[in-house]
């Protein structure tokens, strides 16, 4: 007896209307929801880093290295849900051997490799190289070993070398911005180019994906920054937090506008699919779309941030003047709501696109398993893993601005005569 048959038989009872017989089994499950969420965080965190590096937004400088490490931690985890989801993960290397250039999915391997190797790792390398060389000279033995490996033996700390580091880093960040757009934009294109599916087939999907990625990435870095200050018992730099929150607000406004545009356009044009899609939203996606994505995940944070963020200055103060503690609370709460909202967005796109039949005559259900590769626990594990990796990265390559200063002092002490 085929193991999937039991839950599928239950699905048969809950079908409304008519679906094609092969549509009883949903093809893409929770793992495929996790993947765009994770790559979205990568792109968003990197865009935030580029704000500091390329657009010289000084206020967010304290989060620059944290953003890079966050992007790396999530990037490492990104292929895992895909591999777990494949019918034959052991054949996944075929994407590198014989990619079908007409397929957006084939580009995954190359875009990922490009982004990992040429953009993110290189940028981190150039930014940390000097510190790694210095850290390799002191500290615990295993850490020194790791730092030595990290430097790849490039120990030159001359002014010329350091200038090259800075310029290379700037150039890579410049290339990195469109690369980040591409990394997450192509995921949107994978869905947006499927003409067979009216929920996915849209020119706007890659753009909406990208902006929701930026929103989630900024929110994640904001969260991690505040959490790290809490753990390290340091004060939160409110200028930094305020700036992050204001960028979050801008991105959220754009994201919300784009989603509203898509929604209004669908309703106005009222193509044939509108009947089954509205049924799907009211019968199957009400909680995840209306409540979690729109109300709690977008409208509420929009409201809170608009009220509290100093972004909208009227006579030198925010709409509602709030003390730092309250602002921190609002930022934290909004960022959490946003994470939930963006995850729901991915859920609504991926799962929503499969809940209605391509015959446009019926709806099916998604049965979420607890155990198994496609189960809840596996995805929860994959979502926790980046934080574990981030912790390890933070131990080996501390991103804290105060750590940097210590190294400077140690360096000058070392090279001082006497």
């Amino acid at each position: 007896m085929i193991s999937a048959a039991q839950p599928l038989t239950e699905v048969l009872q809950q079908i409304k209307g008519y679906i094609y017989p092969n549509e009883v089994e949903l093809q893409w499950g929770l793992l495929v929801v996790v993947y765009p969420y994770v790559t979205g965080l990568v792109a968003g965190a990197f865009i935030l880093a580029s704000l500091a590096r390329v657009f010289n937004v000084r206020e967010v400088q304290p989060t620059y290295r944290l953003s890079l490490l966050t992007a790396l931690a999530f990037l490492i985890v990104a292929p895992l849900p895909l591999l777990a989801h494949l019918g034959h993960p052991e054949r996944s290397f075929e994407i590198f051997l014989t990619p079908n250039l007409n397929s957006a999915m084939a580009m995954f391997g190359f875009i990922y490799a490009w982004y990992l190797m040429v953009v993110l790792l290189l940028e981190i390398w150039f930014d940390y190289r000097k510190d790694a060389v210095l850290w390799a000279r002191q500290g615990k033995s295993w850490l020194r070993f790791l730092h030595r490996i990290f430097t790849l033996g490039a120990n030159d700390l001359s002014e010329r070398s350091l200038r090259l580091d800075r310029r290379a880093g700037r150039l890579i960040t410049l290339i990195g911005i469109p690369s980040a757009f591409l990394l997450h934009g192509y995921v949107g294109f994978i869905f947006g180019s499927v003409k067979a599916n009216p929920w996915w087939s849209s020119v706007l999907i890659p753009i909406v994906f990208l902006f929701s990625a930026i929103v989630s990435g900024i929110a994640m870095v904001l969260l991690l920054y505040m959490l790290s200050c809490l753990v390290r018992r340091r004060d939160v730099d409110m200028t930094c937090a305020d700036k992050l929150a204001s960028f979050l607000l801008y991105a959220l406004i754009v994201d919300f506008s784009l989603e509203m545009l898509d929604f209004i356009h669908r309703l106005y044009a009222a193509e044939e699919s509108i009947h089954i899609l509205s049924q799907m939203i009211s019968n199957r996606l009400f909680l995840s779309l209306i409540v979690l994505q729109v109300l709690l995940g977008t409208v509420l944070p929009l409201l809170f941030l608009t009220l509290v963020s100093p972004a909208f200055r009227t006579h030198g103060r925010a709409v509602v003047k709030a003390p730092a503690e309250l602002r921190r609370l609002v930022y934290f709460g909004s960022a959490m709501l946003i994470q939930m909202g963006i995850f729901s967005t991915r859920w609504n796109v991926v799962i929503g696109g499969q809940l209605f039949s391509k015959s446009l005559r019926g709806l099916t259900v998604f049965k979420l398993e607890l155990l198994g590769v496609e189960g809840f626990f596996m995805s929860a594990l994959l979502l926790l893993l980046p934080f574990v990796i981030l912790y390890l990265l933070v131990v080996v390559l501390p991103p804290w601005p105060d750590r940097e200063a210590q190294v400077e002092a140690a360096n000058s002490a070392e090279t001082a005569p006497g």
Partner: protein, 272 residues
């Protein structure tokens, strides 16, 4: 079953008897099975036909000389489901009601404007009787992979595991497919599924292993009313060329420009 060419034609079994006789002669003279079958008759013991059936197609088979397509006349389909049964037998398709290479849909367009579509277990055991009242139109529609000339499934396969063969059949390379399921998402017709045991994509192949031996697909073989007409677009004289000459032809979801090669005659506008 109206014969549009000769309304008073006495033949009441369509054209099949004519072409069946021709086909049999053709078949016997050219077929791989004939020598083996002769052995069976003459020597009374089975020839090594198992090996012959499993050997690669004879060198005489040139795929570039064929472009296979199918015609379907929903007006002839009686919804008996024999085609679904034959397909599952011929191609070892799992018997669970979630995996079909072909299936039958019943459309009931009611006088109140509602359209009800059903396909109980793909139609494999036939359909339960339905009430006669309140019906404006009702009919059966066989569905299968449309073997598109511009297939969206081939376009999206990341590794080249699904492809169009030189004779116009869209096939899946089961040992190369990575099971990403993108092709299943891209098919507008719901023709594909993931095989639960091999974890690779599967779909109707027009019984390719039968085509190269000069046989017709299993569903065409067993259809009692010749609702399915198989043919070669590169052949000028075939039941399919007659079918496409004398019937108004529609394809499913023409607006998606997949250029399907399954041609429906007089397809009702309610069919998706």
């Amino acid at each position: 079953m109206r014969n549009r060419v000769c309304p008073s034609c006495p033949c009441d079994h369509g054209d099949k008897s004519e072409s069946a006789r021709l086909d049999r002669r053709d078949f016997l003279s050219k077929s791989l099975l004939a020598p083996a079958a002769l052995l069976v008759v003459l020597e009374g013991k089975p020839a090594d036909k198992a090996a012959a059936a499993e050997a690669p197609p004879p060198a005489a088979y040139d795929p570039t000389r064929h472009n296979y397509a199918m015609g379907i006349d929903p007006g002839k389909c009686i919804g008996c489901g024999r085609c679904v049964e034959a397909c599952k037998t011929e191609n070892d398709v799992p018997r669970e009601p979630f995996y079909f290479r072909t299936w039958i849909e019943r459309y009931v367009i009611q006088t109140d404007g509602e359209t009800v579509v059903t396909s109980p277990n793909g139609g494999i055991g036939g359909f339960a009787p339905t009430t006669e009242t309140g019906i404006l139109r009702t009919f059966f529609v066989p569905k299968l992979c449309n073997q598109c000339t511009n297939p969206p499934c081939v376009q999206v396969c990341p590794v080249g595991a699904t492809f169009t063969s030189q004779d116009g059949v869209v096939l899946v390379d089961g040992s190369y497919c990575i099971g990403c399921r993108y092709c299943i998402q891209a098919c507008p017709y719901g023709a594909r599924f993931l095989h639960p045991v091999t974890h690779t994509a599967e779909k109707c192949t027009f019984c390719y292993h039968r085509l190269v031996k000069g046989l017709v697909p299993a569903c065409v073989e067993v259809c009692p009313t010749q609702a399915r007409i198989f043919g070669d677009l590169k052949e000028q004289a075939s039941p399919l060329s007659r079918f496409t000459r004398f019937n108004p032809i529609q394809v499913l979801k023409a607006h998606l420009n997949t250029e399907p090669k399954v041609y429906y005659a007089n397809l009702d506008g309610e069919v998706r």
